[in-house]
Symmetry: C2
Subunit: 106 residues, 2 copies
Amino acid sequence: MTDAAHPVTGLDEVVHQRVRLGILTVTHEARRVEFGYLRTQLELTAGNLSKHLSVLEEAGLIEVEKGYEGRRGRTWITLTDSGAAALNEEIGRLKQLIARVETSGS
Amino acid sequence: MTDAAHPVTGLDEVVHQRVRLGILTVTHEARRVEFGYLRTQLELTAGNLSKHLSVLEEAGLIEVEKGYEGRRGRTWITLTDSGAAALNEEIGRLKQLIARVETSGS
């Protein structure tokens, strides 16, 4: 145990939440992804994915763009620079957390 | 991108949620911790901590024990074997996620 702040106190729930962490990770890999692709990758319903996309968009971590591919409506999602920075921050804190768990006896 | 299931699809929200991950980490370090200690470490209100302890207790991941230290009522929290296993599983998935983020370009 240390006196420093526990790593979870610095986690941002906007980023850490399971589905949103997945969205940020996939958009980090692909930069611009289609709604249906995200839905399949993360095994989500459309409604659940939409809800979490709104939270991330409001926080400025992703951009959502509606358009067409041929005659079919499509929604594209892009990670913003803030989103990339927030994911990076989350990964840093998770590493601290993992290090802390692994150095403590069980 | 891979065709394998995305690491976040295997995360358990009972364990992954920020505060609960903190509770499991601290009890993993100390095995048996007092309510007030957890509250300070995780910078929580008593109500918020209680709510998350109930979720973890119902899932069998911690045990909550009420007693006295002198004349003062105390609540002690202990990580169960299931709780240790669940934390271990979470850490494994987080490592997969981190590896995936770090091998993808930004």
